[in-house]
Symmetry: C2
Subunit: 143 residues, 2 copies
Amino acid sequence: MTAPDFQQQLRDVELRVTRPRLAVLEAVHAHPHADTESIISAARSLLPEVSHQAVYDSLHTLTHAGLVRSIKPAGSVARYETRTGDNHHHVVCRSCGSIADVDCAVGDVPCLTASDSHGFVIDEAEVIYWGLCPECTSAPSRS
Amino acid sequence: MTAPDFQQQLRDVELRVTRPRLAVLEAVHAHPHADTESIISAARSLLPEVSHQAVYDSLHTLTHAGLVRSIKPAGSVARYETRTGDNHHHVVCRSCGSIADVDCAVGDVPCLTASDSHGFVIDEAEVIYWGLCPECTSAPSRS
DNA sequence: TGCAGAGTCTTGACTCGTTCAAGAAAAGTG
DNA sequence: CACTTTTCTTGAACGAGTCAAGACTCTGCA
């Protein structure tokens, strides 16, 4: 994934190509599951003067456009990733908060079938597996 | 579910029986999926002088003990419910934020099998279905 | 019933991720 | 290149949730 690719991604969804957006897109791509602060740092290593506000705004815009996806496990701040549209899920470590991707166990667009949806029109199923990561399993920190 | 039942619940998990806890437990039971502020109001209708801090603390304690469960859909504040241990899930309306219970589509403790868990030890699967509730489907507010 | 000690609650201040607002700057258009 | 619209910068504000210290309650035991 190169810089021109990111530009093309933006144009494909009819967004203006701006340096903050490119920096944010590249930062999210390079640091999957990073929180906003990390993304701000990463974006600033590419474009030193970006304001945090521009990063927040870009993240919102890109999320709306579907280029990035945000996840917010309970007890964590917002995190972002560029892997979208393939209906994958996440495992979150209860101890250290680290996140890993998990492909959907059931198929392509699987978990979209709730047993009784109460009349809701469902368009997405979000699954979060909670547990302990390998490191925290072997060395469980403060219990 | 009567007041003595709540007392018994607390004793069963070896928690002290205090009026704030009873009020919180009853409030959560009476208002499933309510946010913290609503629970504070509801608890105060039973016990006028409870501090918000006591409610927060009780909610945390009860959550730890497994008597209540907290859910935090992205973009929403924390919400609580007393239905625990049956591995049910939730539908959340993207428009108005209302929440409904959904029984697990697959079985009893189903979704606990991720295809590749990356070495994580998984103990819970949390599923949130996103969509539109019946009201917002027929009258979609500001798009 | 009364006492001691651990655990809880009240009060009030504070943190920090996120949002709001107004003006300046930059991207796209002809 | 000038113009219009969108986006970015700066700086302040918001608010759910947390922290801390002291007062108060609950429970177990004499």
